[in-house]
């Protein structure tokens, strides 16, 4: 041991020679691709886009530093930015709570002792595997004002048809309905797994104590399912803030910006107008919104998520 001259180096060499050291070296070999990917495809771009958000840059020139100008313009001078925030918020509030509650109720229904569970589950899951683009192309046709199936159904039921996607009022609700339809099966499957993870003993004990179904649902199912509900909510919020394909395929953000979302606006600013600095600032605003909401959900979960009874 050359511990006298260079103690740190000596200890490091000892570590490398030991079993623990060899294990560590092998581990680093195994995670090397991941580390490179983390640096090249995630960390550097995240930092680079922070830098670009403080510049004016059209891809051809070199980025020109201009401090907080992009953010100031976004927050104080650009009415479109606030419209996209409002639209995205509307979309999130329209899809997440309804989608979650519907999925929970259907999961409970499917978790009863019923026949054809597999058939129902398969049918509910079909839209999930289909791409948002294909689904949007389908609903574009379903929502068609004069010959679309949705209006045909409404007329058959005695209502008047709606000009869904060309109406400022109805375009976003139309996208919301379609998106709930598209994502329902995914959350149902997660909830069913959660329901099956609740120990049967709790229900048996409650039955002995004379609890009815409603009491069991409120006092056992809801609390014990709360970690799963938390997972579904967190994931849905993160995903739905990034809504893009629906607006791109069905409405191009219209009519009159009624379905222009944050990511759609980012796409337009960056890849149609080549305002790369401005688009980067938009991306960072989206980033901050998503991270704050996720952290808020993690903080708030302490008040409502139960890991045991």
């Amino acid at each position: 041991m050359s511990a006298v001259t260079t103690p740190a180096r000596g200890r490091f060499r000892d570590f490398l020679g030991s079993n623990r050291g060899r294990e560590a070296i092998e581990a680093y070999i195994l995670i090397l691709p991941t580390i490179i990917g983390l640096i090249v495809f995630t960390a550097s771009p995240v930092l680079a886009s922070l830098y670009y958000s403080f510049t004016r840059w059209n891809l051809l020139s070199t980025p020109k530093w201009q401090g907080f100008d992009n953010y100031i313009e976004l927050l104080t001078e650009d009415p479109l930015f606030w419209i996209t925030i409002k639209n995205t918020g509307f979309y999130v509030l329209g899809t997440v709570p309804t989608g979650t509650v519907l999925a929970l109720l259907l999961a409970i229904a499917l978790n009863q002792k019923i026949r054809f569970v597999a058939v129902f589950r398969t049918i509910y899951f079909l839209p999930v595997v289909s791409s948002v683009v294909a689904i949007s192309v389908l609903w574009l046709w379903l929502y068609q004002s004069d010959f679309g199936l949705v209006n045909e159904l409404l007329r058959a039921l005695g209502f008047r048809g709606v000009r869904w996607l060309s109406s400022v009022t109805w375009a976003m609700p139309a996208i919301i309905i379609m998106s709930i339809w598209h994502g329902l099966g995914y959350n149902i499957v997660i909830f069913i797994a959660g329901l099956q993870g609740i120990p049967q003993d709790y229900y048996e004990a409650a039955t002995v104590d004379g609890a009815n179904s409603w009491h069991k649902f409120i006092n056992i199912t809801i609390p014990l399912l709360s970690p799963v509900t938390f997972f579904v909510l967190t994931l849905s919020v993160i995903n739905s803030f990034q809504v893009f394909a629906q607006a791109y395929v069905m409405t191009r953000g219209g009519p009159v910006n009624a379905t222009k979302t944050i990511v759609y606006y980012l796409f337009q600013q960056g890849f149609e107008n080549f305002h790369m600095g401005y688009a980067s600032a938009l991306a960072y605003v989206l980033f901050v919104i998503i991270v704050s909401l996720t952290l808020f959900q993690f903080w708030f979960q302490k008040r409502w998520v139960h890991y045991e009874l």
């Binding site: 092998e26 581990a27 983390l38 886009s49 019923i114 079909l126 289909s130 099966g185 997660i190 993870g197």
Partner: protein, 306 residues
């Protein structure tokens, strides 16, 4: 468990004991009525939701097999006689759908292979090996799941332009060979469930960890690999933003991107547009029917352990 398997009559008696009614026979009868009403209601709701899920997809197929004139008939006609299978070949005249299919398969296969390799390697290290910095690095990887893809989009676009990857399939495949947070998380969850005795026995036999990874863990983790493979393939196939930004030439496009192009170019030709939509989801639907259990279990697994 035994209570679950009990016949309905047993259930009825349990309810009876909880004191709803004192008259046994009358209570039993009213419980039966309630039970049957409940069942009917339950099946009705499930069936209505099922129809809501299924009918739009059937309408997609129905429209794709119609003559142009039939598409706009009111009231709508569900089955065209004869079925217009000719709409499908016509599609290939409008846009190179054969190329789109080939490109989508190629990109999805490479992305899947890449992510299976890189994620299983890293996941094994995080699950079963000890090394300095393990928990910190894993936490960082998990945290990257919060980063919207769009934050990295513009710098990546610049990077790919500078190294000449724009317009090629490389931006949509190469990154998968360097691990994804979701894949590493999924595989790690699975590796944590494999008994430690296997590792110790192999260590005694003189295997190093990398050998343990590919000789023991990789073969044992086929279900998890199938799940991750399906998810990666699906994500790649259904991706819009990546191809939209990185693929510039028509002949390099994926089928999902090609479908948006078709919607613009065949404006109003609903039978062609829906035929395109059918072709774009058909491979995935077939895959879903083959690997259904892996789909469902995979989602359940990520949801519960998350």
């Amino acid at each position: 468990m035994s209570a679950q398997d009990a016949p309905p009559i047993g259930e009825a008696r349990t309810t009876e004991m909880s004191g709803v009614s004192t008259d046994t026979s009358e209570g039993l009868a009213s419980y039966r009525v309630l039970h049957i009403t409940g069942r009917v209601l339950l099946y009705s709701v499930l069936a209505i939701v099922g129809l809501t899920m299924l009918l739009p997809l059937l309408w997609m197929i129905s429209t794709s097999l119609k003559e142009p004139g039939e598409v706009l008939l009111l009231p709508p006609k569900w089955i065209s006689v004869p079925l217009q299978w000719g709409n499908y070949p016509k599609l290939f005249d409008v846009l190179p759908f054969d190329l789109f299919l080939f490109n989508s398969i190629r990109i999805a296969v490479f992305a899947t292979v890449g992510s299976l390799l890189s994620c299983s390697m890293a996941a094994f290290a995080f699950a079963r090996m000890r090394f300095p910095g393990r928990n910190v690095i894993f936490a960082i990887i998990l945290a990257t799941m919060m980063i919207p893809f769009h934050v990295t989009l513009i710098p990546l676009f610049k990077l790919y332009r500078d190294i000449g990857w724009l317009g090629t399939h490389l931006p949509l495949t190469v990154p998968f060979f360097f691990g994804t947070a979701f894949g590493i998380f999924l595989m790690r969850q699975f590796y944590l469930t494999i008994p430690q005795e296997l590792v110790e026995a192999a260590r005694i036999d003189g295997c190093n960890f990398i050998q343990i990874y590919y000789r023991i863990f990789l073969p044992l983790s086929k279900p998890a690999l199938a799940t991750l493979g399906i998810f990666t393939f699906l994500g790649s196939w259904n991706n819009l933003m990546g191809p939209l930004i990185f693929l510039t030439k028509v002949e390099t496009m994926t089928i999902t991107l090609g479908l948006t192009l078709l919607t613009n170019q065949a404006g109003g030709r609903w039978e062609l547009i829906q035929a395109g939509a059918v072709i774009s989801i058909l491979p995935i639907i077939v895959m879903f029917f083959i690997g259904q259990e892996h789909f469902i279990q995979g989602i359940a697994r990520t949801g519960i352990k998350g």
